[in-house]
């Protein structure tokens, strides 16, 4: 059991350096100077025509939807349908609601991803990058909205979700669903402008709208934001979502790793040195 002090310090230093590598980077954060883009969906304008679903399928080469929004049926996005429209009976009558990935400002899935396959682009969309993902599905476990979907029945499966048409955005075009919507229920633009627009609509017609912009603060702020005539829990959305970002839940743990990695070996060596004298006396039990 002999080991000299120099070797030991070498190992301590090496392991400390390896394990603390990059820890200070923390959760991905937006550059203050770039403005995030987002989407504003107005439920009161939606007529449930599913044009957004069809144009999404056309844009991404997916299957066209085969079912229509129906009362009492909750349709869910899946690997072939990145967005779905549902119909709910609310306190203000029937209302449609569209759902898809929310594109959180500080996304749980992006923080969870250990290969950076899920990536928050500078302008707002959260995208999945093939060739990096190892298929652990930790993004699905972490996402508060259950947005990422996994192709369980493929041998080389992908994580599928709304990309906010990041490629179209690069070309200067609006996302496909915005273009496809005949009612103007979906607006694409700078997130800060969208919040102003939403406030204006609520302000101009306070009796018609429920006074809340869902996504302004939920989960630390999301790219997709919603306004409707009723509270969002009547439309199948979770309203107990925390206002802080989800990555903030693991920040404390991530931050404690480096100190433990560095300090604990020293403590252990100290205890080892302290009990060494017992060994030299040749203890029995």
């Amino acid at each position: 059991m002999g080991i000299n002090r120099r070797d030991f310090m070498k190992t301590v230093g090496l392991a400390g350096a390896t394990l603390t590598f990059g820890k200070s980077v923390g959760s991905p954060q937006q550059d203050e100077t770039t403005e995030l883009y987002g989407m504003l969906y107005d439920s009161t304008l939606c007529i449930g025509c599913q044009n957004c679903e069809f144009s999404c399928a056309g844009e991404h080469g997916l299957d066209d939807p085969t079912d229509a929004p129906e009362l009492g049926v909750v349709r869910k996005a899946d690997t072939d349908h990145r967005t779905v429209v549902n119909l709910y009976e609310t306190s203000q009558g029937e209302a449609y609601i569209k759902s898809q990935c929310m594109h959180c400002n500080q996304a749980a899935c992006v923080t969870a991803c250990l290969t950076q396959a899920l990536h928050k682009t500078k302008t707002g969309p959260v995208v999945w990058r093939e060739g990096k993902c190892m298929g652990c599905r930790y993004c699905m476990l972490s996402c508060p909205f259950d947005s990422p979907k996994f192709e369980y029945n493929k041998t080389n499966p992908k994580i599928v979700k709304c990309t906010m048409c990041a490629e179209r955005q690069k070309e200067g075009k609006e996302p496909a669903c915005v273009e496809g919507c005949p009612m103007g229920a979906i607006t694409f633009g700078k997130r800060s402008d969208l919040i102003k627009e939403a406030r204006k609509r609520i302000h101009d017609d306070p009796d018609f709208y429920y006074d809340h912009i869902y996504g302004e603060h939920e989960a630390g702020g999301t790219g997709w934001m919603y306004i409707a005539g009723v509270p969002m829990n009547e439309l199948g959305f979770k309203t107990d979502i925390q206002k802080k970002s989800y990555p903030s839940l693991t920040k404390g743990f991530i931050g404690s790793i480096a100190p433990v990695d560095i300090l604990l070996p020293g403590v252990l060596l100290g205890i080892y040195a302290a009990t060494k004298s017992i060994r030299e006396e040749g203890e029995e039990s």
């Binding site: 059991m1 080991i3 190992t11 392991a15 394990l19 590598f21 990059g22 980077v25 923390g26 909750v74 749980a108 923080t111 969870a112 991803c113 250990l114 290969t115 950076q116 396959a117 990096k132 993902c133 190892m134 298929g135 652990c136 599905r137 930790y138 699905m140 476990l141 972490s142 508060p144 259950d146 979907k149 996994f150 192709e151 369980y152 029945n153 041998t155 979770k238 107990d240 925390q242 989800y246 990555p247 839940l249 693991t250 743990f253 991530i254 790793i257 433990v260 990695d261 604990l264 070996p265 252990l268 060596l269 205890i271 080892y272 009990t275 060494k276 060994r279 203890e283 029995e284 039990s285």
Partner: protein
């Protein structure tokens, strides 16, 4: 002079080492034992299911849903199994850091057990990965997701496997009669132990931290922001419980391996382990109660899951704690073993509750594992036991080291 002699010795034996290893590959002991007859078919079916998984996709053999993405393979083999393997770092701490020599006879077998558990649970994890080849991304470093808890767990897990291999390597050197290698490998032990413990504390707690972002998905009775701390404390007594259970089974299976003075020293070991377990479990129960009161969880107790929670905490934490305490004052081998088994069931319940049962307990389509998932889970554990038995029958794991190797410790 001595150095030269050693080198020569190694060189001259190089050829015979390989033929020796070949010879050792052959089975020792009876082939048609009840264990073999039961385990071989399960392993074969398990391997076939794994083949189907790789040719037809994960969905062909499991019942995972878009809401419940982690099932039995992660929840049991990884999250539960790693806690069970905690004995390796706890015993290394007791023997090497606290210098409690009395645990030395069971140290090697525990480290072997821990190492094999990690190897096989990594295999389970890789089978569960959708795109297993891309696991290389977290190792070669072109895509480090450093803000991910799983990234840190993965790396600490990997490095700890290496540390355990180093801790165990002197036994391999003794088996192959490699004296010089033995000296070098033994000299690495303390460093491996110190880092092994550090890595263990972090990845055991990291497993709990994995679930921190699933705040709205885990039933409030099980979710709390102290999950990392709870996981690391419970890994202490989970690991010890498995050491106790493994010891009592190994004593029946590998009768010839135990030295003559074993019985006496073993009773002393069990007594001390019971005491340490009782301490860790008391701390855990105390923390559980504080969290329960602090989070005002009493409102959930009247539900079905509330009763399930009480069963876990009272039946499989408090009862074994009482049994351990009882055997501290009035030692009884059976009581300690029963307490260990109850503890293991409790840990299994706790980890499965967090990762599967109370995870999306409100989902419209609940996840119930497919039979294929159960078979693969069991098959992986059975293969691990086969390898464990193979090693114990050949290397000085339970039996004493050869005379020449003793001075190195």
């Amino acid at each position: 002079m001595k150095q030269n002699a050693d080198t020569l010795y190694l060189d001259s034996r190089n050829n015979s080492v390989w033929s020796f290893i070949l010879q050792e590959m052959k089975p020792k002991g009876k082939i048609f034992t009840p264990f073999n007859i039961i385990s071989i078919p399960i392993i074969l079916v398990g391997l076939y299911i794994i083949f189907i998984r790789f040719t037809q996709g994960l969905g062909a053999v499991n019942n995972l849903t878009q809401e419940v993405p982690w099932g039995l393979w992660k929840g049991f083999n990884v999250v539960t199994g790693v806690a069970f393997a905690g004995g390796a770092y706890v015993l290394a701490f007791l023997v090497y850091i606290l210098n409690m020599k009395r645990f030395k006879p069971i140290l090697r077998v525990t480290i072997l057990n821990g190492f094999l558990a990690y190897v096989f649970y990594s295999i389970a994890l890789i089978i569960d990965l959708g795109r297993p080849l891309d696991i290389i991304n977290i190792i070669i470093g072109n895509n480090y997701g450093v803000s991910s808890v799983m990234f840190l767990v993965g790396w600490h897990f990997l490095l700890y496997m290496l540390a355990m291999l180093i801790e165990f390597s002197p036994a391999i050197a003794e088996w192959l009669n490699l004296k010089k290698a033995h000296r070098v490998l033994s000299s690495l032990t303390l460093a491996a132990v110190v880092f092994g413990i550090t890595l263990s504390v972090l990845h055991q707690s990291g497993l709990g931290a994995l679930f921190l972002m699933a705040k709205d998905k885990i039933h409030p009775l099980w979710y709390n922001s102290y999950l990392p701390l709870m996981f690391v404390v419970s890994s202490v007594f989970a690991g010890i419980a498995l050491v106790i259970l493994e010891g009592s089974i190994s004593r029946k299976v590998f009768t010839g391996q135990y030295p003559d003075d074993d019985k006496e020293s073993h009773n002393l070991i069990l007594k001390s382990l019971a005491k340490i377990s009782a301490g860790a479990m008391f701390l855990y129960l105390f923390m559980t109660i504080i969290i329960f009161v602090h989070e005002q969880n009493a409102v959930y107790l009247s539900s079905k899951l509330g009763a399930w929670y009480l069963l876990e905490v009272l039946g499989f934490v408090m009862v074994p704690l009482i049994l351990y305490c009882y055997s501290c004052t009035k030692y009884n081998r059976t009581v300690v073993t029963v307490a260990a088994v109850l503890t293991l069931i409790g840990i299994m319940l706790n980890r499965m509750n967090i990762s599967i049962i109370a995870f999306r307990w409100d989902a419209a389509v609940p996840y119930i594992p497919a039979w294929q998932e159960f078979v693969v889970t069991v098959a992986i554990i059975l293969i691990e036991i086969w390898v464990f038995r193979w090693v114990v029958r050949r290397m000085p794991v339970i039996r004493k080291s050869p005379e020449w190797a003793k001075n190195n410790h």
